[in-house]
């Protein structure tokens, strides 16, 4: 595992702030009706994408979830092409044909957000197979939620990866809800990581609000995968500060204000910022300057997206088959 240098610490923080500000602004744009369709935002879960992706190169690949913006940003995605994709513009990563739930970019190794719960896991297993087949040390990471761990695809992926000893890490972002249903009502276990035992792979639980903890646990699992020792199930306990979809969602009271507030006291950004301040690795002024520069990045990206053209209608039928 790469030693946790000050440079890496700084990169982790930058990554998390970029995700937070990207998502906050995406939420506003959606509420103002400027971005069409559902957005499942990553606010509250930033430590996981940042901590895992810090170990990856562009050649390592990930499969993502409904909640994929943070994954793509942390994997190297550019904000302008991402906003453009959310807007459905031709300059978006996928010419506007994917949208929020299907955004992808092969160049940075992001095989796609996925609107089907759990569908990405076995695809990551196939990507991992091709890495082993070609005798590279590349890894594949499958992100998924507690809800997805009830899908058959999770179980098929875990078994296949374990029996073939493939270089893949299954990263469960357990935010306590499968869509709107609390974990205790959708599975009879507390730790999704317990399921690893059934497939003969290590299961690890980590505090998903602590980016350093995620970084270290992910580093071990990824090292294991690179060394050919097989898959790991890494469960990160986390929480979504926004609703399942949208900022305030549909406004149903399926979780209490007290619960949300309790988790917000453990905001991964606040926790990490405090750590960096305590360690004198950053000052308040540094943090403010960084936030300012990222705000400018966000504003420029949104402007780019808004001013970009819609895809030409003549392209409607393109890309269904090989042209």
């Amino acid at each position: 595992m790469k030693e946790l240098t000050n440079e890496i610490l700084n990169n982790l923080y930058v990554c998390m702030v970029r995700i937070r500000l990207f998502e906050e602004n995406a939420g506003k744009l959606q509420e103002n009706g400027k971005i069409p369709g559902a957005l499942h935002m990553y606010v509250g879960e930033e430590a996981i994408a940042a901590g895992v992706m810090a170990h990856l190169s562009d050649q390592d690949q990930i499969t993502s979830t409904h909640r994929g913006h943070g994954h793509l940003l942390a994997k190297g995605g550019e904000m302008d092409k991402m906003y453009a994709e959310l807007f459905g513009k031709v300059t978006g990563y996928n010419k506007g044909k994917g949208g929020s739930m299907h955004i992808s970019n092969l160049e940075v190794g992001m095989l796609g957000a996925n609107g089907i719960v759990g569908a990405g896991l076995p695809i990551a297993v196939g990507a991992a197979f091709s890495n082993k087949f070609r005798k590279t040390d590349r890894v594949a990471i499958a992100f998924f939620g507690d809800g997805a761990s009830n899908e058959g695809a999770f179980h098929e992926a875990a078994n296949l990866a374990a029996v073939l000893k493939l270089p893949v890490v299954f990263v469960c972002e357990n935010n306590g809800y499968g869509e709107f249903t609390p974990q205790a009502q959708h599975q009879a276990i507390t730790d999704v990581a317990d399921r690893a035992a059934g497939y003969g792979m290590p299961g690890v639980v980590v505090d998903g609000m602590e980016v350093i903890a995620v970084y270290e646990a992910a580093g071990e699992a990824i090292d294991r995968a690179r060394k050919g020792e097989g898959p790991t199930l890494l469960e990160c306990k986390t929480y979504r500060f926004y609703d399942h979809s949208g900022v305030r969602g549909m406004g149903f009271n399926y979780r209490t204000e007290a619960e949300v507030e309790r988790w917000k006291k453990r905001d991964p950004l606040d926790l990490f910022k405090q750590h960096l301040l305590d360690q004198e690795l950053m000052t308040e002024a540094d943090a403010a300057a960084l936030a300012d520069s990222i705000r400018q990045e966000v504003e420029a990206a949104i402007e780019f997206a808004e001013n970009s053209p819609d895809p030409d209608l003549s392209t409607l039928l393109e890309d269904v088959y090989t042209n």
Binding site: L111, F133, E156, N159
Partner: protein, 337 residues
């Protein structure tokens, strides 16, 4: 030229493509060590190794999804679904992932996966080992759907499929794996030896995807079918004395509509045959296409001969299976109009 069964022809296609392209690999249930329950992959693991002929768990969604992940990274996986009836657990991966990756990534990436699946009845397999689910997949844009009827076509089309960059669902009519079937279960089974399409070059060749074949030219009525029913229809035409033009569609999606229109311009009458159930079956799509293209020169309503709208019945297998008599009756009814 060698005489090959459809099983041997498929094995030959796999062998040749694996030899030519290191990125081609096979995966599926029992395909490696055992050689496949129908023997289509026999000997391949010995020749190419465990990493290229991969035994998987019995987990169809996992098989197809893994093939997708491989395909995105430039491999050309041939995934075997042991019976077409087992394809439903993988349906989500085929429909929501495999068929749509190219579109939703704006053309940035795709997975050139070939899914092989033995289909069809007439083998006393009951309702979960006899189905013909082709119409479910022709409804899915992004896929190509193929069903050969004989060894020669099977080999050439399978090689084309593996080399094609689009995802392919390649249905193999298992009743014809070891010989053509003419619809009468009481007749002695025959092998492919002596059948012109059982003569198969041992070398590489391809048959273009999307081209139908005229099995028998004729002038009175066009008979459109594919898979096992090609042979049943051919025997029925022979028996009836009707001068029917028999077209083996071979590729269902994309459909060779030009071949159909050309034939209908000559015959003005049409019978559509498939073994799959009737309602919303592939025949319905065929008839809609013909109506759009040929309405003004049709002289009779198009008639469908299909399996009944029941699960494939164990006891009534030969009532369900569209036999020669039903086909003859259908041809006569269009001629009488």
């Amino acid at each position: 030229m060698a005489t090959m069964s459809m099983v041997q022809a498929i094995n030959s296609a796999l062998d040749i493509t694996m030899e030519r392209d290191q990125n081609v690999l096979c995966l599926g249930e029992d395909v490696g060590y055992f050689g496949g329950v129908f023997r289509c992959t026999a000997g391949l693991q010995e020749k190419y190794g465990q990493h290229r002929v991969l035994d998987t768990p019995i987990a169809e969604a996992g098989i197809i999804a893994a093939a997708i992940g491989m395909g995105v990274n430039g491999l050309r996986p041939v995934a075997e679904i042991q019976f077409a009836d087992y394809i439903y657990p993988a349906f989500d991966q085929i429909v929501s992932e495999l068929a749509r990756l190219r579109y939703r990534s704006g053309g940035e990436f795709f997975a050139p996966v070939t899914v092989r699946a033995p289909c069809g009845g007439g083998i006393r397999g009951g309702q979960t080992h006899s189905q013909s689910p082709e119409g479910i997949f022709t409804h899915v844009c992004g896929l190509k759907v193929i069903m050969p009827s004989n060894p020669y076509d099977a080999k050439g089309l399978l090689i084309s499929s593996i080399e094609d960059d689009d995802p392919i669902i390649f249905f193999e009519p298992k009743r014809c794996y070891n010989g053509p079937f003419y619809g009468d279960p009481h007749q002695q089974a025959v092998s492919w030896a002596g059948h012109p399409k059982g003569e198969v070059p041992e070398v590489y060749y391809t048959i273009p995807i999307g081209e139908a074949a005229i099995v028998r030219p004729g002038s009175e009525v066009t008979v459109l079918t594919y898979g096992t029913m090609v042979h049943v229809a051919e025997a029925a035409i022979e028996k009836s004395g009707i001068d029917a033009e028999l077209i083996d569609l071979r590729t269902l999606l994309p459909l060779d509509i030009d071949a159909i229109v050309e034939s209908l311009q000559k015959t003005h009458r049409c019978v559509v045959i498939h073994e799959a159930t009737r309602t919303s079956g592939y025949g319905a799509e065929l008839i809609a296409d013909i109506q759009e293209e040929c309405f003004w020169f049709l002289e009779a309503p198009i008639v469908r001969v299909t399996g009944w709208d029941t699960p494939y019945p164990h006891a009534f297998e030969w009532h369900y299976f569209p036999g020669q008599e039903r086909i003859i009756e259908a041809m006569k009814s269009t001629l009488e109009t």
